[in-house]
């Protein structure tokens, strides 16, 4: 959904948000480039889901634990807190129900890393203002009728949703269209204008040491239930 250079930059930043030796699920892992990088560089134990079967097979053929599946249908097979990090890179805007997906990320993972194209970027705002047509940029190169990106939102929108869902933004990084990175501050003003791509590290407020019983899992007969 983006050009190659910016995805690689994206990967380096994602890696910088992750602690070594973690268990990681990459949703929409493609050929597994990011997870194999994380295995090599920070000794991560990685898993992936990819909806495109050809890409999934390429990842499997690299010896990665990748299943063909869909972020909106197949996350229910993972138990609570299965991963230290769940990554959803450049995909949230393509989801039918982004809010539900976001909640799922933080159910199956202790932390979530979400990156997305910022629709609040000044170029996009200007395009809509002056041309009166749906914006198209290098990062969002699709016509409105064929774009996989069906839910556009801005950094501000995303921050508001996190607040509504009691999700803590631990870190947030913005990338300008030229690839310059900066940390997004709490007071959003310029950042929302200049960020073309945003990366968020998310978690729930930590109430340790309370251990929720609901996290226990058990099998009864053929079905999985959460107690």
């Amino acid at each position: 959904m983006n050009n190659k250079f910016s995805i690689r930059k994206d990967w380096r930043l994602i890696e910088s948000l992750i602690v070594e030796n973690s268990r990681i699920l990459d949703i929409g892992c493609g050929e597994g480039g990011l997870i194999s990088q994380l295995e090599k560089n920070i000794n991560a134990k990685t898993y992936g889901i990819e909806v495109n079967s050809e890409l999934a097979r390429k990842a499997i053929a690299e010896g990665l634990n990748v299943i063909e599946g869909n972020a909106e249908k197949d996350l229910d097979q993972y138990s609570n807190n299965s991963f230290d990090y769940v990554i959803l890179s450049q995909t949230l805007q393509a989801m039918l129900k982004p809010k539900d997906v976001l909640l799922e990320l933080l159910r199956i993972g202790s932390k979530a890393i979400v990156s997305f194209p910022n629709f609040g970027h000044w170029r996009i705002r200007l395009q809509l203002l002056f041309t009166g047509k749906m914006p198209m940029t290098k990062g969002l190169p699709y016509q409105w009728y064929e774009t996989p990106n069906i839910h556009f939102f801005t950094i501000k929108d995303f921050e508001n949703l996190c607040k509504e869902l009691n999700i803590v933004i631990e870190k947030s990084i913005g990338l300008t269209s030229s690839g310059k990175q900066f940390s997004i501050s709490k007071k959003l003003s310029n950042e929302n204008l200049f960020t073309s791509e945003a990366i968020f590290l998310l978690s729930y407020q930590n109430f340790e040491p309370i251990k929720l019983k609901s996290k226990q899992k058990t099998f009864v007969g053929n079905s999985i239930i959460a107690r």
Partner: protein
């Protein structure tokens, strides 16, 4: 284990046979097999570390001739396109073993073999066999060959059942499992098709409660019909339509009779006829039953949640085919879901094809690519860790 064994070269079957005696091998039915034999073929070379062994498990009507020449059919082995030098399962690298299942009819102990207690063929008196028994017998074979670790187990259909059963019985011996077009249980539809096939055999007047080998007349008609039914289930509507449509067989007009007017009829009759030349009707009864009895849903769940012998190291690869209605994707995915729920190493892909359940035996480049990549990359990993 106090059993004795003897490995012989069988010249006519062109394979090796291990004869076990004093085995005290208890089957699921409580029947005890003291003397039994397993016919097998191997390909490639066992390396010094003995870490390159792949066990290929054959499907219902398969045999040990996975690749190379099959002296019974006088044709290439059933997975020649997959197994061999420079093939996806590369015998330049891996030592591939394929054995005939017990209950089968290609040299392993089965209903057509002689029961040493009575000196006549077992026939219908052969004990009931399960997938669990088949796997335990394969373990005897590996012990006799002093093989302690399997780099991989691979199987499609009934072979997939064996592969997943292996993960329950001997998880500590396995590194990787490739499970193709299988399930944790045989569905009622599948049991139903098998039952029709068995009825065809048992209602053949020559069947004689399984003692046909004594009078020389075999239930060929029944077995051929069973094969015809089964063959339909291995294909898909689209594949059949593409291959045959409503085309007529060697004629321009319909005959207004019950000849094989249509090509599809002629094809099925041919499939039935050629099958009876190479397969034993009793074996067909016993092995279809073994598949019917297969249901490890609970055992598998328990083994994954509370493993008594560690199985956490196993890498699973599950593959299904879009047009397979015998072992559909949803059944294969059950395995994936259970493994994922307990954070296991599992990969899964569904290959798009209209060739039905038989796709795993046919020319599917995506299957080759996935199996080859999975094996080679995991072997590289194993080597780099050692």
């Amino acid at each position: 284990m106090n059993y004795k064994f003897n490995i012989i070269d069988d010249k006519s079957l062109e394979c090796k046979i291990v004869e076990f005696s004093n085995a005290n091998f208890k089957l699921d039915s409580d029947y005890i097999l003291n003397n039994f034999k397993i016919a097998f073929k191997s390909f490639g070379t066992l390396n010094k570390k003995k870490n390159n062994v792949i066990l290929v498990c054959h499907a219902l009507t398969g045999d040990q001739y996975v690749t190379g020449y099959n002296p019974v059919t006088k044709r290439e082995g059933w997975w020649s396109r997959m197994v061999g030098p420079n093939k996806p399962i590369d015998t330049n690298k891996f030592f591939v073993i394929c054995s005939n299942v017990i209950g089968g009819c290609s040299g392993s102990t089965g209903p057509k073999e002689i029961d040493v207690n009575t000196n006549s063929p077992f026939g219908g008196k052969f004990p009931s066999i399960t997938i669990n028994d088949i796997v335990n017998a394969q373990n005897y074979l590996l012990e006799s060959l002093s093989i302690k670790k399997l780099f991989a187990i691979i199987g499609g259909s009934m072979g997939a059942m064996q592969a997943i059963q292996w993960s329950l019985n001997y998880p500590d011996k396995i590194e990787n499992i490739i499970h193709i077009a299988g399930a944790l249980k045989h569905s009622s539809q599948n049991i139903a098709f098998h039952e029709v096939g068995r009825q065809a055999i048992m209602n053949d007047n020559n069947w004689n409660k399984g003692s046909y080998n004594e009078n020389g007349k075999r239930p060929e008609t029944g077995l051929a019909v069973a094969r015809m039914i089964a063959h339909i289930t291995y294909l898909s509507e689209n594949a059949m339509h593409r291959k045959f449509g409503r085309k007529l067989q060697s004629r321009d007009i319909i005959s207004f009779g019950f000849d094989a007017d249509f090509q599809v009829e002629s094809y099925l009759r041919y499939q039935g006829r050629s099958f009876v030349e190479r397969f034993d009707a009793n074996s067909y009864l016993y092995l279809t039953r073994a598949m019917d009895y297969f249901d490890i849903v609970d055992k598998f769940s328990k083994a994954i949640e509370f493993p008594t012998i560690s199985n956490k190291h196993i890498n699973y690869l599950v593959i299904s085919f879009t047009s397979d209605w015998l072992f559909p994707t949803i059944e294969n995915k059950e395995i994936v879901k259970k493994l994922n729920y307990f954070n296991r190493n599992v990969s899964f892909t569904e290959i798009e094809t209209d060739k039905g359940h038989d796709s795993f035996l046919l020319d599917e480049l995506e299957l080759d690519f996935t199996i080859n990549g999975f094996l080679e990359s995991n072997y590289r990993k194993l080597e780099s860790h050692e």
